[in-house]
Amino acid sequence: MPTTALDARGLIKRYDDVVALDAVDLRVAAGSVHGLLGPNGAGKTTLLRVLLGLTHPDAGTVHVFDRPMSDSRGRLQPDVAGFAEAPRFYPFLTGRRNLELLAAYDQDDGNGRVEAVLDRLGLTGRAGSRVAGYSLGMRQRLGVAAALVRRPRLLILDEPANGLDPAGIRDLRELLRELAADGGTVLLSSHQMAEVEALCDEVTILGSGTVVYDGSLQRLRESAPAPEYRLRTVDDEAALALAEDELAVAAGDGLTVRARAEALDGYVAKLVAAGIGVRELHQSVSPLERMFFALTEAGGAR
């Protein structure tokens, strides 16, 4: 069994003057949940389209489990499934009929499999209704179901949590964790660090068509700057005066504090000692998010 599920090298895609992908490399280890992060417009979707064989790159290669991503007839390898941007279906067919169609297009009778994934995604109750009446979240779940019908070893999902309610997000995370535990590989694209943080060990961050970070979340976390906190006190002006080394700055009707845990503890203790009551204190931007912004904004994106 190959240890690399997906190996993309030197991908270049230009649209007229715009370079959507500028020599992008992406390696996803088998059995992992790999995050693909980037602000909107960074090239995530273009990359996923190339990985799914929909867009022809101007240069570069993609291998899946050590084989070229598409076969001699331009077909996606049978052990890859997923979607780029919102999954789409025939609105005039029922959810079940859509899945049966796709199972047939996989040259697979899909019998039993369709019902199993409908059940797994909690769609059995509405499977007999036309997709036209589905909510965004239901279509999203049907998209994951459609990918699972193919029994992929590599699952490529673009913002799968879009439109899902908190319970739906929780169920999806649980599902993806189970897939990974069973040896499956997931490439999960998102523009939210929190989403990726909850599931992934490894991330690739895209900014303006280039890879700005590739590696473990742990390493990213370690190199991250201090987190940002939002602080409101009885007397913000006095609190600001107590802050050393530009630890805190005024921000609207409160203060923004950038500090690691020990420094923050010391500052709060000083405030309390000075008789300045703390009304509110919470982390507003996580260190990883600060890192993400720092990495991707440098490229001028967002």
């Binding site: 389209r49 929909l54 997923g82 279906f89 297009y105 040259q107 697979d108």
Partner: protein
Amino acid sequence: MTTDPRPHGVATAYRWEMEKLAALLRVRLTAVACFLAPFGLVAALRLQDAVPADTLFGRWTHFSGFATPMVVLVFTGQWALPLLTCLVAGDIFASEDRYDTWKTILTRSCTRLGVFWGKAFAGMTFAVLVVVLLALGSLAAGVLVIGARPLVSLSGTLIPPGPAAGLVLESWATAVPPTLGFTAMGLLFSVATRNGPAGILGPSAVGLVMQLLSFVNGVDVLRHLLLTTPYGSWHGLMSAHPYYAPLLWGGLVSAVYLAGCLAAGYLLLRRRSFDEG
């Protein structure tokens, strides 16, 4: 290079295209209308004394029910059949753009060739269905409402009811090749424009231009190369001394349009990069 044992999935794509078509109200209504509209026409003809004398067989519409399907063939052959067949063919690729479902089906295991032929065959099936329904509907309407009296041929001879029914159906069968040609043109427009209305109306516009060209004097050769001309190739069947040269030539011309449009359509789809949507 090893040959790929997995099929292209033409049969699968065809079967599901047919299922998708059957689920569309527009398609069902067109099919029903093709069968029932001739009854409306006959009823309207029956209610008045005037006959559509400027159409072949028009002056015999009150006399023989077999004239009805021939009048409907003349009426629909030139402009309605290209439009009717393109209601499906002109939209069958563009609908994937409209629903944004190319990415859904092209990330499965059917090849683009399989998807293309599945859609092409589905479009052609609908084309044949439209011709069959119009033929049977107008024949039934004529025979039931006007009566099964002998038909006056284009040479002035009387054709008894049995042979007349056979000749009517044969005449309608000659409309199949050019209709398939227009179907392929609709498929090509659908792939090329990615726009349903353009795919549906484009071939009809081409058909109209072809009809105008056919009225230009002194260019008989051009007339023989137009896809609208084979719609008249049944004339030879309705003569006292049948002739088949226009039929054979019309079949050849239709086949050239069919093959050319299909090849161009497939090449466009094969090369297409799905960058958006």
